[in-house]
């Protein structure tokens, strides 16, 4: 190709270079960046932790009195599966990509949840937010909702046996 032809093409095409960071980035509508967990919506149920392929989301419990849902963006593969499974719709896929950092620690985001004790045996069962969500969404009897699954079964079995016993007399 002659230089005249190259120049002709170059002048016709004009400048293609994006002047990022002085110009907005070339983000397409399909682009998926880091996810954001909304601390006012999250229940701490762990569905996202289960689905996350590289374990970028994890639940850890340091004190035993609370669990922390931790999002480590340094391991995220930006698949968006967590946003799909979240029952509370607490996860949003954003377009954030300027995530560079000089330390791994600053790539972490945590949502701490206080745990609720079973009113009968005192074991830690679930998070406060989860309890609130259950009370809101289903008509569960109050004396059962604050129990752990084991105590609930025991109490239900006892109640049933009393009724059955009363019926056979």
């Amino acid at each position: 190709m002659s230089i005249a032809r190259i120049l002709e093409i170059a002048f016709r095409t004009g400048r293609v270079t994006r002047k990022y960071p002085h110009e907005p980035p070339l983000l397409t509508p399909e682009f998926r960046g880091a996810v954001r967990v909304d601390p006012s919506k999250c229940w701490g149920c762990g569905a996202c932790v289960k689905i996350c392929p590289p374990n970028a989301l994890s639940l850890r419990s340091d004190s035993g009195r609370e669990v922390v849902l931790e999002y480590f963006v340094g391991r995220c593969i930006f698949c968006g599966m967590c946003a799909e499974v979240c029952p509370a719709r607490a996860i949003e896929v954003t377009k954030e990509f300027e995530l560079s950092s000089t330390s791994l620690e600053s790539l972490k985001y945590g949502v701490a949840h206080r745990l609720v004790r079973c009113s009968s045996c005192g074991s830690l069962v679930w998070t406060e937010a989860e309890l609130r969500a259950v009370i809101r969404s289903s008509p569960v009897a109050e004396e059962y909702v604050v129990l752990c699954p084991r105590c609930r079964k025991t109490r239900f079995a006892r109640a049933a046996s009393i009724r059955v016993g009363a019926g056979s007399e």
């Binding site: 293609v16 270079t17 994006r18 002047k19 990022y20 960071p21 980035p25 070339l26 682009f31 880091a34 601390p39 006012s40 919506k41 999250c42 701490g44 392929p53 590289p54 374990n55 970028a56 922390v68 480590f72 963006v73 340094g74 391991r75 995220c76 593969i77 930006f78 990509f97 300027e98 995530l99 560079s100 950092s101 000089t102 330390s103 791994l104 620690e105 600053s106 790539l107 972490k108 985001y109 945590g110 949502v111 701490a112 949840h113 206080r114 998070t127 406060e128 937010a129 609130r132």
Partner: protein
């Protein structure tokens, strides 16, 4: 050996950063994005960034991949061959923490483990910047280099919030 004046060195190379592309077993998507960043579309030569063919000529290593066991000795040799100050830009979730390969048998799981191996071998690294992404966008690579050179500020920080009722 460890008496490297990093600030002075960064000032000196700020407008002319020679980069070497080191793949430690990535899936190639991050490598394609590095090539993207080198094309006229993103044109990193605006910042004086130039690709070189040997770590001996490099100021900065563009590091991709989760470090496979097979590549580990070669990666250590390549980083050792670099002159001081050794600047490394760890690209992609693979490099940062192993990414999707974090627990496979055939990788050591990212740069953190590699850093330990380097320390055992007496290879010092002066500055590391982690750039998450799978793959990293060309803009994210540019942003990472600018952060390493101190041109832009870091946006992310460690956050821990308590869940509150909506």
């Amino acid at each position: 050996m460890s008496s490297v004046n990093l600030a002075r060195a960064l000032r000196a190379i700020k407008r002319s950063v020679w980069v070497y592309h080191l793949n430690s077993g990535s899936c190639n998507a991050c490598d394609i994005e590095i090539l993207d960043a080198l094309t006229p579309y993103f044109d990193v030569e605006r910042f004086g960034i130039k690709l070189v063919g040997s770590p001996r000529h490099a100021d900065l290593i563009l590091f991709t991949g989760p470090v496979t066991r097979e590549s580990l000795p070669k990666v250590v040799r390549a980083i050792r061959a670099m002159p001081r100050p050794r600047l490394i830009l760890v690209l992609g979730s693979c490099g940062v923490s192993g990414g999707i390969w974090w627990d496979t048998y055939s990788t050591i799981g990212g740069f953190k483990k590699l850093e330990e191996v380097l320390r055992e071998n007496g290879v010092e690294v002066d500055r590391v910047v982690y750039v998450p992404g799978c793959p990293v966008r060309p803009e994210a690579i540019i942003y990472g280099i600018l952060l390493l050179l101190g041109v832009v500020e870091q946006k992310v920080k460690k956050v821990e919030v308590v869940a509150s009722e909506s």
